[in-house]
């Protein structure tokens, strides 16, 4: 009896698999026509869709793309909490098998996994970032986080009353290095004698640890703080609980969560980046380009919190606006200084 059952199960499983295979093939066959009609985008995130940082900024960018192009023209599927590249790889492969046109793996840690998978799906467009290594069907996007970091650093130095700016970092790698380097140069430019305190938690998602680090930096005199990655909201919250200390956010504008604390923000415009990927794909370019996000092409923006406008000295605002114009025009270039 058991054997019969096992056999039946095996047959059923086989049928199910064949069934899946057929559906996928159909999708693959219809893709060339469907591509013109409707773009299917899959997004893989290391953290959550509502992390108020890196992940959420991309989710909102995709929503904007949907709004502009029409919800019937763009389909978006999202998988979150896939920080581990191996788990993410399984999700990416599934999306590719299901015939998604563009698969965005939103993290630098996905580079090698994508390089491996993309070979098996030559008709699919893949994108990841931050990074610069591409392949024939892989785009690499690369926010110049140091540009906004520089502007926020200037703002911090010229607004600080204690003469100390604090950076709560995750790990000294990738975007954090790029951003922090910009902030440090900006602080020095804004006011040469203002000190920058930099420390790392050694994690990307330890919000309690980030909060403690922010408290430690404030006890060492910092009154304007900033930091990147999804744990940064923990630090922002710790700053929000004090009086007279302020936060500068990056990746996206975090002032919605702390309207009395976030002075200004560097925000990425993913809508433009994704629209560009869609357009290139329509032209038959499936990858191979290093897409740079910068002030010059409007993919990075600086946002001030109108509610706290009176906390920023007029001279500081003017200097920052000038520097922003210089960066946008290409007159001022901010390099990333690595240790």
């Amino acid at each position: 009896m058991k054997k019969v059952l096992a056999l039946m199960l095996a047959v059923l499983t086989l049928l199910a698999f064949t069934g899946c295979g057929t559906t996928t093939n159909k999708t693959a066959e219809t893709t060339p026509q469907a591509k013109v009609e409707k773009v299917r985008i899959a997004l893989v995130l290391p953290a959550t869709v509502d992390d108020l940082a890196w992940g959420q900024s991309m989710v909102e960018g995709l929503k904007a793309v949907q709004k502009t192009m029409g919800a019937d023209k763009v389909e978006v599927a999202t998988s979150e909490k896939l920080g581990n590249p191996v788990d993410a790889g399984a999700a990416i492969r599934q999306y590719a098998t299901q015939g998604y046109d563009i698969i965005i793996a939103h993290g630098s840690q996905y580079q090698s996994v994508l390089m491996d998978i993309a070979k098996d799906f030559p008709k699919t467009t893949f994108a990841y970032g931050s990074g610069f290594t591409t392949a024939s069907n892989i785009f690499a996007y690369d926010p110049q986080a140091q540009e906004g970091g520089y502007l926020l650093g200037m703002l911090a130095a010229m607004t600080s009353k204690t003469g100390t700016v604090g950076i709560v970092g995750p790990m000294e790698s990738g975007d954090a290095v790029t951003y922090n380097s910009g902030v440090q140069q900006g602080v020095t430019k804004g006011k040469a004698d203002v000190k920058t305190r930099v420390a790392y938690t050694g994690s990307f998602n330890d919000i309690v640890g980030a909060g403690n680090l922010a408290k430690t930096e404030m006890s060492a005199g910092a009154d304007i703080l900033t930091g990147s990655s999804q744990q940064a909201v923990g630090a922002m919250r710790a700053v929000a609980e004090t009086k007279g200390n302020y936060w500068l956010s990056t990746d996206m504008d975090q002032s919605s969560a702390a309207p009395d604390t976030v002075l200004a923000a560097q925000a990425y415009n993913w809508e433009k980046v994704v629209t560009k990927i869609i357009d290139l794909r329509k032209q038959g370019i499936l990858g191979g380009q290093h897409l740079i996000l910068s002030f010059a092409d409007g993919t990075i923006d600086l946002k001030f919190n109108p509610k706290l406008a009176d906390k920023i000295p007029a001279a500081a605002k003017a200097a920052v606006e000038q520097a922003k114009a210089d960066i946008t025009s290409g007159k001022l270039k901010i390099a990333v200084i690595k240790k």
């Binding site: 953290a47 959550t48 509502d50 992390d51 108020l52 909490k81 604090g166 000294e172 000190k195 305190r197 930099v198 420390a199 790392y200 938690t201 050694g202 994690s203 998602n205 330890d206 919000i207 309690v208 640890g209 909060g211 403690n212 680090l213 408290k215 430690t216 930096e217 006890s219 060492a220 999804q230 744990q231 909201v233 923990g234 919250r237 710790a238 929000a240 609980e241 975090q254 969560a257 702390a258």
Partner: protein
């Protein structure tokens, strides 16, 4: 680099150290009771996540952190009951059931947050309570007597746990059940009942440890907020040799080392941050390696009790 470690900086290091030792202390004291009764519960991290979420949620909706504390104790107790059902009544392998409980807590807390809250939402958590007179003592006052109520609770639980374990008849039963369950059984002590009680008590404290993170420190919730603290708490039970004072020492050593390394980084003392962040782990391992004396563990730890067989 600034070589000056003035007293304000030292006070800040020590006060932060005491505060961040609290979740370890609460969770490890709870796990100590569980293990002393012969069960190891590797699900502490998952229970902490549930405690963190439920405590946060209750505080968010009632506006009262006190209610958050009660709710986190409640959910901890329920998770403990579940663990007891699986590992004591059904006699499942304890390590595996604990890991299962951890994954369950992780998944469920994230799901509930997504369903009922979502996004970044903050709450008004526990306020600092200055203890009159004592908080005015120079140096020691701001370190020990200007903290929130859960910090005081955790510190008071150390002597209290020692007393319960060593001086009460219930404590005697716990120790007997953890060492010689057959003997305890012969004397009419219900092994299963004691293990249920210890798992529930231990898990309540783990739930409280989780709530400390959301309503006593971060004042918000985010996915995976415990960030491995539950597993460190389990290690601290071994470090503390199943003794509350040993656990206090381990928790303080670990947290003080962590708080110290943060300050070293912030002050810009020229020291690679990669080495700084592993300092607490290194210090704990070294202390564990050089501390001598016989290594003692509850004899029946990890063994389900079956009447009529030898553990």
């Amino acid at each position: 680099m600034e070589g000056v470690m003035n007293s304000a900086i030292i006070i800040s290091i020590l006060a932060t150290g005491i505060r961040s030792a609290t979740p370890y202390l609460l969770a490890a004291l709870g796990e100590m009771f569980t293990q002393r009764s012969g069960v190891y519960n590797l699900g502490v991290e998952g229970i902490m996540m549930m405690g963190a979420f439920v405590g946060f949620y209750a505080t968010l909706h009632s506006g009262s952190p006190l209610l958050g504390i009660v709710a986190s104790l409640g959910i901890g107790g329920l998770m403990g009951l579940l663990m007891a059902l699986v590992s004591v009544t059904f006699k499942a392998e304890q390590g595996i059931s604990g890991i299962g409980l951890y994954m369950f807590g992780w998944g469920l807390s994230g799901l509930l947050y997504r369903l009922y809250v979502g996004g970044i939402t903050s709450i008004n958590g526990l306020q600092l309570v200055k203890i009159p007179l004592l908080s005015n003592i120079p140096f020691l006052g701001p370190i020990f007597f200007d903290q929130n109520v859960l910090v005081y609770t955790a510190l008071l639980l150390v002597p209290l746990s020692g007393f319960i374990l060593n001086k009460t008849s219930w404590g005697l039963n716990v120790r007997a059940v953890g060492n010689k369950p057959e003997a305890a059984d012969t004397l009419g002590v219900s092994v299963e009942r004691i293990r249920y009680e210890c798992l529930i008590l231990g898990s309540m404290l783990a739930g409280l440890a989780g709530a400390f993170l959301t309503i006593g420190q971060a004042n918000m919730y985010a996915d995976n907020i415990t960030a491995g603290r539950g597993f460190i708490a389990i290690a601290l039970v071994y470090f503390g040799r199943w003794n509350p004072w040993g656990i206090l020492l381990g928790s303080l050593l670990f947290s003080m080392a962590d708080s110290f390394q943060s300050m070293v980084q912030v002050l810009g003392i020229n020291f690679p941050y990669e080495l700084a962040v592993i300092l607490p782990y290194v210090v704990t391992i070294i202390a564990l390696a050089i501390s001598f004396g016989r290594v003692w563990a509850p004899a029946a730890l990890g063994k389900p009790f079956q009447r009529g067989t030898r553990g």
